[in-house]
Symmetry: C2
């Protein structure tokens, strides 16, 4: 049996029981955007994400600065998806010996630009030789507690009747990737959204402060990510297709495909936030649906829609 037979999520499900760890200090394990544990009365949030040449970026296009930004930003988004504050990062670079040093300088400049924007300190890392370029960031953050309870955005925190809301607009990253394939550069607004995601740290923190306890970031595509919430909360979801926020740029560029990109495109790094109306109302988000008893995600729309999200091994 090959990895491609079971896919990324199949592999994760297979490995999860092996690592299932129990400890009084472990608050969130491998099942969420980030792990959370308690140290000295404080919550530590920890996450890691890798970008591999030819899979998550294309080194031949030379966008080293953007790569550095994104390698950190996708991790910042995981901390934002827990409602936390990013703090310190470890950066691992896998690089071929024949790479220009100038490329690494640019990569680090972009990474430090993102670090500055989000208040992250790079405190260590590793540099290794590899024929395939890869950038791995491990990011730590701080979480808060309220009344002695962890105040986090979890995937299993949804209740029937909760509203489903998202930050920003969805699908721009998928549109940007398509435009790059058609030769557009970083000055294209959609391409910019693909290359330089802007994690929603402040909104995640505001959601936690407002009492919201369910959320995640949209990295694999709205339908797939919302599916995780449904599965882990034991609920279903109904989405209003017309309510899904789509940018004017995306609608203009891909009028027939914009909704599909918004639902299944992935790599938006917006937040999906689930909570009661009174808590959601105070946040800068767009309500797109509701959690219901049942299972799975239904998209209420006159066009049928059943595209799956991104899968690391099968797509």
């Amino acid at each position: 049996m090959k990895l491609s037979d079971i896919g990324e999520f199949g592999l994760i499900k297979r490995l999860m029981p092996l690592v299932a760890a129990e400890s009084p200090d472990l608050i969130v394990g491998p099942e969420d955007d980030a792990a959370v544990w308690r140290v000295g009365g404080q919550l530590i949030i920890a996450t890691t994400d890798t970008m591999v040449d030819g899979v998550h970026f294309r080194s031949e296009t030379g966008g080293w600065r953007d790569l550095g930004w994104k390698a950190l930003a996708v991790n910042v988004s995981d901390v934002a998806a827990m409602g936390g504050t990013p703090t310190n990062a470890l950066v691992t670079l896998c690089l071929p010996p024949e790479l220009d040093v100038a490329a690494v300088d640019e990569l680090y400049a972009g990474l430090m630009e993102c670090a500055g924007e989000y208040g992250v300190m790079v405190v260590g890392g590793d540099v290794v030789r590899s024929q395939v370029i890869a950038v791995t960031v491990a990011l730590f953050g701080a979480g808060t507690e309220r009344d002695g309870q962890p105040a986090l955005l979890l995937r299993n925190g949804a209740k029937a009747g909760d509203l489903i809301a998202v930050t920003g607009t969805l699908g721009d990253s998928a549109g940007g990737l398509r435009r790059m394939d058609d030769g557009a550069g970083g000055d294209d607004p959609l391409v910019g959204r693909h290359l330089r995601p802007t994690p929603r740290v402040a909104t995640g923190q505001a959601a936690v402060a407002a009492g919201v306890r369910c959320g995640l970031d949209v990295s694999d595509g709205l339908l797939q990510d919302l599916g995780h919430v449904c599965e882990m909360s034991g609920l279903g979801a109904i989405l209003q297709a017309d309510a899904i926020p789509i940018s004017d740029e995306l609608r203009a560029a891909y009028p027939d495909e914009a909704l599909g990109m918004a639902c299944a495109g992935g790599e938006d790094y917006e937040l999906l936030i689930v909570g009661s109306k009174d808590k959601i109302d105070s946040l800068p988000v767009t309500v797109i649906g509701e959690m219901v008893d049942g299972a799975g995600v239904r998209l209420i729309d006159d066009k049928g829609f059943d595209r799956a999200g991104w899968d690391a091994f099968q797509s």
Copy 2:
């Protein structure tokens, strides 16, 4: 200019000023085996290390279980090298879709075996597609404080007159690698030392408890690693070649090269501990030399010896 022109340490030196972070909570930055910062009055130790196919291991030999063990163990060694206690890990697997699932099962079994041995919980990670297999672990640990001061083994903590000591025996890993090239398997004791390093967590903790404040792990080779201590402490070192602990197995297998392997072989994951005689005497280590005023490492021996350690891009 290519990476191979400046080498791994050249690249690290180039990147260091970019990331040089200052914060009252940051105790150790990128210059040591691991980063250390304070959270809620406790010391967090964090480190990351990657193993790449064809560079740090050879997937065609199929030793998946050993690979899993070593990928975690080399990180545990970094925490041991700070005198800390490893706690939680994030594991990133870069894997090709055509890889057998059974290989990943084995890899994880070895990793969890090491986790069990050293009390580490795997709390999260990432799984990504890549044509080159790589395993990256980010490991966290706890450090202690004494009289309100961090009690850590640092590279810059040596004083003139301090003794230099090491745990275990050196060079076995290099010998094991050579024997693997000659067709030996994991039942060969030297090969076993190469494939399954046993980080010296307890000795690191004992050193800190005894008041020692300088140490690191021998990963790049004794001379090179001790060179880091010299450089960062502003001192020189004199080593007694005859005192360097070499196993009977290594001496029997490579009588003429054993000392060279012990001095420059790398990947031993033993601890190099530097401190005053009264503190060192209580520890299960072998004294091999002394820190002196000056610069650089001198090996006192009738054979001249000037081999450099391992470099990621130049070797």
